[in-house]
Symmetry: C2
Subunit: 114 residues, 2 copies
């Protein structure tokens, strides 16, 4: 559940600009401000169900962009490469094992060429 | 000129899936296959001017996506960070200056959090 919300937040950050103003308004409250469905429903003066439906529909739109473009997945891959570099640096600082340095070089070379 | 073509190639790689089949067909020949306008015009049996116009129009569509989403710019930033890491690694291997390691750590930390 938490992971699903995290992914929705990320997809909204990536593709939010493609949404309509109305979708954007509700997604901003839900994703950026972390308002509950009930709170958004009160703020917007519409039923909780209507808010739920809008979010579900918008989620599908955002998913569709990611299926088409796959840019979030590509971005995540980059983040993971930076995390691997950090882990290898920590290992190097403890062990002074030079293979850590060559592994970092390999990752940075591969990623800078993609 | 060369840089402009490089950017167009990159934007096409990023947002090509959002184009129509016809635009895609021509952009694939132009960007991926590196065909000239004249060659595409012969292949498609339409005038060179028509191909030129289609490419110009498609360029605007791709530019529009980038203005909206800015994902290519974000991606480029990541690539540049990997290039900086490579440069710092090379410097470290020559000088064994530990500040290179801390700089790499800083870059990787900043980038993995974004």
């Amino acid at each position: 559940m938490f992971e699903k919300k995290m992914k929705l937040d990320a997809l909204y950050e990536f593709y939010g600009k493609m949404l309509t103003d109305k979708q954007n308004e509700i997604m901003d409250l839900f994703c950026n401000m972390d308002y509950s469905l009930g709170e958004i429903s009160e703020l917007q003066g519409v039923s909780r169900q209507a808010i739920h439906d809008t979010i579900k529909r918008t989620e599908k739109v955002l998913d569709h962009y990611e299926v088409q473009l796959g840019l979030y997945a590509r971005f995540q891959e980059k983040q993971e490469a930076f995390e691997s570099i950090l882990a290898l640096l920590a290992q190097y600082e403890m062990t002074r094992d030079e293979t850590c340095i060559s592994q970092i070089k390999q990752i940075a070379t591969d990623e800078s060429e993609m």
